[in-house]
């Protein structure tokens, strides 16, 4: 079987790979690009542990083919922290003990970021429905919802502060 040559961007880095036409984006990320943050929990798009974004859209990478991301921008959990600084969602997840075993955590973080990117002030219900495609078996979701809510509020506060600063400038 001949491979497909793909040029894409992952977490801002230009990346090239060759994969069989039937190989999933999840397998490409994990086995070819050494990005193991996305996990395979089901392989059928039911658990969200493999959540990534493709051109800003939240997807289950187990349902996307590697060949489909030619020219796209792929975002994974590995791209959330900037330099040594965790994304607010990441630090709130730790602060609120929103993870136990942690296997679902990368998927939740990617999904929560996709939510906050389009809705900076979600209600509890909006958080719960936005994360309904991500399964967690450890937490009962309680502390996850609280962490996302706290992150949204923190980001809003940070935005206000930097807004004031930029006005002053």
């Amino acid at each position: 079987m001949s491979g497909v040559h793909v040029s894409t961007t992952v977490n801002g880095d230009a990346v090239e790979f060759v994969c069989p036409p039937g190989e999933t984006l999840l397998d490409v990320l994990r086995n070819r690009l050494n990005l193991i943050g996305a996990k395979e929990g089901c392989g059928t798009g039911d658990c969200g542990a493999c959540s990534v974004t493709v051109d800003g859209r939240l997807v289950c990478s187990c349902l996307v083919l590697g060949a489909e991301v030619e020219g796209a921008k792929v975002g994974t959990v590995e791209g959330m922290a900037e330099g040594g600084e965790l994304h607010t969602l990441q630090s709130k997840f730790i602060e609120h003990a929103a993870l136990q075993c942690g296997i679902c955590t990368p998927g939740f973080l990617v999904a929560a970021k996709a939510l906050l990117d389009r809705n900076s002030d979600p209600s509890e219900e909006e958080i719960r429905y936005a994360l309904a495609g991500n399964l967690c078996r450890c937490t009962g979701y309680d502390k996850i919802v609280r962490a996302v809510d706290a992150a949204a509020k923190q980001l809003a506060t940070d935005a206000t502060k930097s807004g004031k600063k930029s006005k002053r400038r």
């Binding site: 996990k39 929990g41 959990v77 296997i103 219900e125 719960r128 309904a132 450890c138």
Partner: protein, 755 residues
């Protein structure tokens, strides 16, 4: 050793950092995707393995032809049971494990492994599976626990003779064991009753549903040495089991526990790891074997489905005078202890003069049942706590008051034998009674229920090392894996004992070559037993630190005290000596006697039993039968909450699993004996939008058998939800469901039948 074993009794000490909520030390790894789980290890030259599984519920395997698969380019090894000879020396339990990993002449359930391949990639391995030809003779099957007990039922294990009955049966049956617990005179008790309620219940089979499928990376060389990277709740036990099944020497198989993506008991059992090792040995290459989600459902242990009869008698004044139960638990295709555990827990919440529980462990053509969080207790509690509500109603009593009146207390003889010390059932019930949740108004189609639960908890073999670095940081090495924040709680304990900041401790989970044996992380024992070993290892370190300080000061060690993380010279004679911190002493360690370390090896006895009481509000849609949990409160005794965030997390997670079990989750088998819903789409676990916030109240009734009073907290709260929801549904919809899950069709049927 016995005379030097430390005193494990509870001492009421003032804590400085126990009970605080610092960030977990593995947090950053787990939010950045760096943490490595079962499927996240890679080895040079690794092969990909796949397992061929039986499509039949019960069949004789007439032949397995692997020749064409072996010839396929890229295939490096094919194994069947021929490659896993019986080396168990008559140990039937071990042979059962081996036979479950790979069928031996008979396929006993849909999904039973019959052969496996290792190939250069997944594509090739998939092709190879298709080239393996298995000839089956399909046999009659049985998947229901009550059907399996009938005389004409197909026999699943012809060697089984029911244990626990006299005389010992001559004929094989599917009843592997009968067990009985209780005390008093049941008949006299029922004769004295003013009211008697008798009910029968069924619960369907559920899966632990950990999000991480089983995964391992095995490597065995021609020198007989091997390594296994695996997601497991007990790498030491996995090592011993795999080594025995493969004829390897224990010390020559190093097992490393990966980060574990949930287990809940399901990763205490060896399911496929011996197959990966056998493939690696045959191919002489590292082999990676991961289960698909479908395989997890079909071939790794769910918990039992059950059928339970309950009879409770009470006097007009509200005292239970007799209680009896018959419990039938299926263990899948191999004998288990699940019915026995169910029977032991049946009446554990109550102070009863006359009680009895009789259990049958039954074989069916389903995957081998596994431990699932407080294994077997939720089903028994569903039956008991539903019936308790009925008795209270018949007496015209408030269900909480009725429970308080009959609750077990210190000095109560437990139905399973022992006499209780200080316990939390009464206090959790009082907390429920006084909780604002109990007084909150309810809307139309809404109802409130409550229920209690019990779990034994466990201690077991434990071993912990502490090594002090020259900069005064501390490396804590444990053998129980971190599945929900235990690195944080154990680091807190080490820091508390040594008197140093939490951030100075780094907790590591060691591989089997780096630490002594530790039992499975099961029975809510992680923080209890590794915590206990950590306390004593730290106190061992303090002894060394005092000696070193004495040497540095050139005074007698008896004149050196350890206070607030520093050595202090006692007495006026030494008032000129400034205290030495742990870091001061560590810095000098190369010249004062070398490395500073402490360790502890123990069999951690004294695990304190734990009780919980839950309150639940539901809304039942009378048109569809759909039930929504709208408010939920957990009250549980933790003994002592080391890191309250992660204690709450255990309560919440356990309650959520119980809610899923109560309302949605079930294994659905077709007439053909095949599992029809082996995926998260059709086996639906609760999602974020299904649940409310789950409120928690931690009670702390110290466990007398632990220096800090710790009790295991992980399991108990999966026990009450089934009945709490059943009782709430009954109050909301006016119908009582005796069959779990209370799925919309079942509730709708009950509503329509009641019209």
């Amino acid at each position: 050793m016995a005379e030097t074993a430390p005193d494990t009794s509870f001492t009421n000490q003032d804590f400085k950092i126990i009970g605080t909520r610092p960030p977990r030390p593995d947090g950053v790894d787990k939010v950045t995707g760096r943490a490595k789980y079962g499927a996240d290890a890679f080895a040079a030259g690794q092969l990909t393995a796949l397992i061929l599984r039986s499509p039949h519920a019960h069949a004789k395997i007439l032949s397995i032809d692997t020749k064409r698969a072996e010839k396929l380019k890229g295939v490096k090894a094919v194994v069947t049971c021929e490659d896993l000879p019986d080396l168990t020396g008559g140990n039937r339990g071990m042979l059962d494990i081996l036979e479950n990993c790979m069928a031996r002449g008979r396929a006993l359930y849909d999904g039973h492994a019959v052969a496996a391949v290792a190939a250069i990639d997944a594509e090739t391995a998939k092709k190879a599976l298709k080239l393996i030809k298995v000839k089956y003779e399909v046999l009659p099957h049985v998947t229901d626990v009550d059907e399996a007990m009938k005389k004409k039922a197909p026999i699943i294990q012809p060697h089984i003779r029911t244990t626990g009955v006299d005389p010992k049966p001559k004929k094989a049956s599917n009843v592997a064991a009968r067990s009985q617990f209780g005390h008093g005179d049941i008949e006299a008790g029922f004769a004295a009753a003013d009211v008697i309620v008798e009910e029968s219940y069924k619960t369907e089979q559920t899966h632990q549903g950990y999000i991480e499928p089983h995964a391992c990376l095995a490597s065995v060389g021609p020198d007989g040495q091997g390594e296994l990277w695996v997601t497991t709740q007990g790498h030491f036990v996995f090592r011993n089991t795999c080594a025995a099944l493969l004829g390897m020497e224990v010390a020559k198989l190093k097992v490393t526990s990966s980060e574990i993506g949930g287990g809940f008991g399901g990763k205490t059992h060896v399911w496929m790891e011996p197959v990966a090792l056998a493939l690696s040995r045959k191919a002489n290459r590292p082999v990676k074997l991961t289960m698909s989600r479908e395989e997890v459902f079909r071939a790794s242990g769910p918990t039992s489905s059950t059928s339970i009869d309950i009879k409770i008698g009470a006097t007009r004044d509200g005292r239970i005078c007799a209680a009896s139960a018959e419990l039938r638990y299926q263990g899948g295709a191999f004998p288990g202890i699940w019915g026995m555990l169910g029977a032991m827990t049946t009446w554990a919440c109550y102070d009863l003069e006359n009680c009895q529980s009789v259990a049958f462990d039954v074989l069916v053509n389903r995957p081998k049942s596994a431990a699932y969080r407080a294994p077997s207790a939720p089903m028994a509690a569903f039956a008991v706590e539903s019936t308790i509500d009925l008795v209270a109603a018949k007496l015209g009593m408030d269900p909480v008051d009725f429970r308080i009146l009959n609750a077990a207390k210190e000095g109560t003889r437990a139905s399973y034998g022992p006499t209780y010390g200080p316990i939390g059932i009464g206090p959790t019930l009082e907390a429920v009674k006084n909780h604002p949740h109990m007084k909150a108004p309810l809307g139309p189609n809404q109802g409130r229920g409550m229920a209690c639960g019990f779990w034994f908890n466990f201690g077991g073999q434990t071993c912990t090392d502490i090594n002090v670095g020259v900069d005064g940081t501390v490396s804590l090495t444990v053998g129980t894996m971190d599945v929900g924040g235990s690195r944080a709680s154990l680091s807190l304990i080490a820091a508390e004992e040594l008197g140093i900041p939490y951030e100075r401790v780094k907790c590591n989970v060691a591989d089997t070559a780096s630490l002594g044996h530790n039992d499975m992380t099961e029975g809510s024992r992680g923080t209890f037993s590794s915590g206990m070993a950590t306390i004593f290892a730290a106190r061992d370190v303090v002894k060394v630190l005092r000696n070193r300080a004495a040497a540095m000061w050139e005074i007698d060690v008896d004149d050196v005290a350890w206070e607030d993380g520093q050595a202090v010279a006692k007495g006026i004679a030494h008032s000129n000596l400034s205290p030495l911190s742990l870091a001061d002493i560590a810095r000098k360690s190369p010249t004062t006697g070398g490395p500073i370390a402490g360790h502890n090896e123990t069999v951690a006895d004294g695990a304190g039993v734990s009780f919980a009481s839950h309150i639940c509000d539901v809304e039942v849609d009378p048109e569809t039968g759909a039930t929504k949990v709208i408010r939920y409160t957990v009250v549980q005794d933790a003994g002592k909450a080391i890191h309250p965030d992660y204690v709450e997390g255990q309560f919440q997670g356990a309650a959520a699993q119980g809610i899923g079990w109560a309302l949605n989750e079930e294994y659905i088998y077709g007439e053909d004996g095949r599992l029809q819903n082996p995926g998260f789409l059709d086996y639906r676990i609760p999602v974020c939008s299904d649940l409310p916030f789950i409120d928690t109240e931690i009670l702390e009734i110290p466990n007398p058998g632990h220096p800090y009073g710790v009790r295991g907290v992980g399991e108990t709260s999966i026990v009450p939800p089934l009945a709490a929801i059943g009782n709430a549904v009954s109050n909301a919809a006016g119908v009582r469901l005796n069959h779990v899950p209370m799925s919309p069709p079942r509730i709708l049927k009950a509503i329509n039948a009641a019209k």
